[in-house]
Symmetry: D2
Subunit: 336 residues, 4 copies
């Protein structure tokens, strides 16, 4: 059960609601986010919703049978808008483009990427400064200094930054320089990281786990929301299957299913979804047609020289073509 | 190696070519299809392609390193067109629509479906008369009598028929009534069935196996082609994964990869690919955007009363909407 | 519901039972096997089992809620024994060993294998004469002539034969020479083949599908049983997963789960289960410890020269060691 | 390349080795563990190993072609022994038993479990005080206070403690009370956690990821080793597949493959591997037969009342039976 509380609720009124719900043997989680106050009740006993709903201090009450509650579309009909400021929003009915290299490599690369994005009216740049790598001997990213360089260039160009945070201790140092925190596919169920990101007033994009289920992704988002941050996005990036002709198997089904189940924006990552440069475009266009609210992909001036993921990275010419086509596909989708 | 022979080649000239190739320690398969004569050579020894290529009787020669040869795009740049007659073609640059019920149930159902297709200018009707079912106690289809009923109605309406053949002994009795033989996902590696379909002068659509790889699908097509039938289509219908929020995981990657690897038309089956009625449309549109040359899906006047697969079957109103949108998406794709 | 009929039931008595069950809106399948007469009723309506059970002509009645019925252990507490004659049985409480090459290659190979088996007191020889191969250009087996050669040598040595049947049309020609028909992993859901094997009075071993579920394997066995043949064995041979360090992922869980769910003997195939020669032994021993009633594995005098599957085939020295150890492990298991 | 340095190497001698290797364009990682000093060189250039190997200060040098180096058996023929003190060792040729509840619940439960272990001469107790849970509303463990209670009781009983650490910030507070840190399946690729555990002088057991590959598990161990801690164990706990008849698919192949590839002890977790109480025993016995150096499983006085994982937890009677049988199976394995 989700209880939305009135904005100016008194401690006493709230306490009465809590007592009432506790009497029903529901375990209560008190959730306070940027946007509202909620009580989430977990329990099994059936009850008459009107007995609770009529109480003072309650603006709305909903029964949600899913394991996840606050991220479910069952109680929140209006989809969530992520407002990054300066008119940059990620939301249903829009198509956010986030592009940039796998790894941030230095000033020159940053500047060239920013120029490319500006020329194509793209507002959000992706890039990794902390890189999760299977082998301890691989390049692990430029770290916080890379992020600061990037921030300086991006701010003056009016470009927003999305980048991966790998552990709790990085949050504080990254916070001033980041517009969206990305939780990577290996950290989707790093519950401590999710808890901490719930305390931060910056949007979070959560990637689906390497072989995570749709329900697990939603439950991971529930972690962040229930810890206090409802500025969330979900990202489909392909799953691990037996098929080795592509790096991952892009789960196009997940895009339309996530849109049905949750009020959060759904972003597609075709670069990791297929992992083959020549095929990123058709997969990206397909994802938009399936209902994605945005696309995140890898581009680099010279993919063959990129520090990582070059095999799935578009050059700027390919990137420009993709952007143009994504916009056409999006326009058609919205016009139908 | 694939050697395309000249049309009027003499037995003696061909014998010389065979001897030459055998001397290279290549195992030769002699392939004669509706469209041409080929020698497929399998071996490892390197040789100068000009030594063979200059011989009389050879119109072209190609080295193909894939396990599959004749279905590869590496030797056949021009994509394959499947001509069903009466102006109905399935080919690259077109978008074939094949719609109809999971199971053929009787005359009334057939007539209603045909009317629906005609109203929407759809030329190919799908339907099962032999149904592969996990349990021996489930409905297994109307059989050959159902096919005859269907044929009668379809022919007079100018509608083409695609239906599944499950075993070798059915081929002969079905032959007069079928426009396209469908090989189901449980029979993708029924090699005897594939061999026999190579002897038939009717097009064949091969579904990817339940958990078949892309390479296995191409090798299955190679079976039919090398047995003499090059009127082939490949069909992506979703694969089995750990994710249970959908019936299968539609492998959108496979569509664009198959288009790159093979000259055969690629058809998408969104009904089985996601298995949830409300989500068939976005998946179908995504598949077209990813490059599919056609779509096969399930529709029924009253899905809730269908003998099988009702949960993923569109009613005629939904089907009409899908057809209209698929055409718009296809038009955009071709215009880009 | 499963109704076991009395042996000497009259047509009239049976008709009355059928009518009674039909009145309950249960669809009835009439099953007559080597061992008994059954009526299998499929329906949803609840009823008092005693109302049916007391009728004349019924020796027993059981409610089985699984999709599969006749192969379930819920009604048949006594496990099934497969009697191959000459004192060779496959059954719970025993450990059948079936060994031999992937492909039958010729008389010399047959003789050497038979000698190896006799020296180690192994009674059943495996070998393929019809080989399912992904590529049409691979060796497809010696066919019926190979089987005849093998039969001649095996019979005079007192060795039983298990070999794969790939299609309906092969059954009749193979019948005189085969002791156990094997249904391969690509044919587990070849329902026509299963139906026909139901009409044959020879035991059948059914391999689990390439990525078949445990329930699907049981339903495939139900096909054969309900068509009239209850001399069945189930075989776990590894499933397809994302892990590529082994050929398949041997599902050790399946062995103990199948033993719980079904009264049929369960055989393990470690050769395909892991696909790496050096690791076949530990996997085989593990399967016995998990409860397998038998093991089928590949051995060849010179694995490196075998026509197929050499990488997972044991030489005779390794095979002998495996046999000795399997017997020790089995003895321990039975003594605990 | 792995260079084992002599114990008393001078800074200058080491510097010369580093310079030599750097000249070969190998990237060097300097590794100092409890047991030795190593240089790990990553590069592609071929060179004559004797040119390096003869240098002063080098006790041994090895070329290892795997992605992982230090955990490979290719350079370290003698398997690793984990010495927990008081004569408790985990090593090849032994069979460590680690048993206890999924979650630590309180003093009474701790005491009863310890009594059960002592009665059966089991030296290591498992239990979770920090529980990773898919839903934020589930019980997340007793935390550090639970660990302290447990430590007090375990120390006085001579029982060692293995428990999961979920994040970097927990390491320091847990350190005094833990004998083995466990890295859970959701944290196998939490690289920051692995790095930090490399700095700790306590053994670490790393579980395979939910759908991690064998190579990824080895690379995760490489993280910890290369950061300075070589007291490591690998744990197979089942992988996620399409099969839903069991909680996970226990990958019995992984046990024998890991034993071949690495010198680290391999532990099996049959409780998570199958997830069904009645089937834990056969899977556990199979894992020992496949070569596991130890088993970790869940037991609780009253599984039906356990806070978590009750469906896969043995009661003490079942646990006792399992322990007896595991020892018999182990004895047989070692005697063969």
């Amino acid at each position: 059960m989700i209880i939305q509380l009135e904005k100016e609720i008194s401690a006493k009124t709230k306490e009465e609601i809590v007592r009432k719900v506790s009497d029903l043997k529901y375990k209560i989680t008190d959730v306070k986010t940027q946007k509202g106050d909620y009580l989430v009740g977990i329990g099994k006993q059936e009850f008459d919703i009107r007995d609770v709903g009529h109480m003072p201090g309650i603006s709305d009450i909903h029964i949600v049978s899913d394991d996840y509650k606050l991220v479910s579309r069952k109680w929140k009909v209006n989809p969530t808008t992520i407002d990054l400021g300066d008119g940059v929003c990620i939301e249903e009915g829009g198509m956010a483009i986030m592009a940039g290299p796998c790894s941030i490599e230095g000033e020159e690369q940053i500047d060239k990427t920013i120029n490319h994005l500006k020329e194509n009216d793209v507002k959000i740049m992706r890039g990794g400064v902390y890189k999760p790598r299977s082998s301890p001997y691989s390049f692990r990213g430029m770290g916080i200094e890379g992020l600061k360089l990037w921030y300086k260039a991006a701010r003056s160009a009016g470009i927003k930054i999305i980048t991966e945070v790998m552990q709790v201790s990085q949050i504080e140092e990254m916070l001033p320089y980041v517009d969206i925190f990305q939780v990577g596919a290996r950290n989707t169920q790093n519950f401590n990281l999710l808890d901490e990101l719930g305390l931060v007033d910056k949007p979070v994009l959560i990637k689906r786990g390497i072989s995570g289920t749709i329900n697990e992704l939603l439950s991971s988002a529930e972690y962040v929301f229930s810890a206090g941050n409802e500025n969330l996005m979900l990202c489909e990036r392909g799953i691990r299957t037996y098929e080795k002709a592509s790096r991952n198997t892009m789960d196009i089904n997940a895009i339309t299913i996530l849109k049905e189940k949750s009020h959060l924006p759904v972003i597609a990552d075709p670069s990791h979804g297929i992992g083959i440069r020549d095929h990123v475009e058709p997969v990206a266009l397909a994802c938009i047609m399936a209902g994605a609210d945005g696309v995140i992909y890898e581009t680099h001036e010279k993919p063959e020289e990129a520090y990582s993921d070059g095999q799935q990275t578009l050059n700027f010419r390919e990137s420009k073509k993709l952007i143009d086509r994504m916009r056409k596909v999006f326009d058609l989708r919205e016009s139908m």
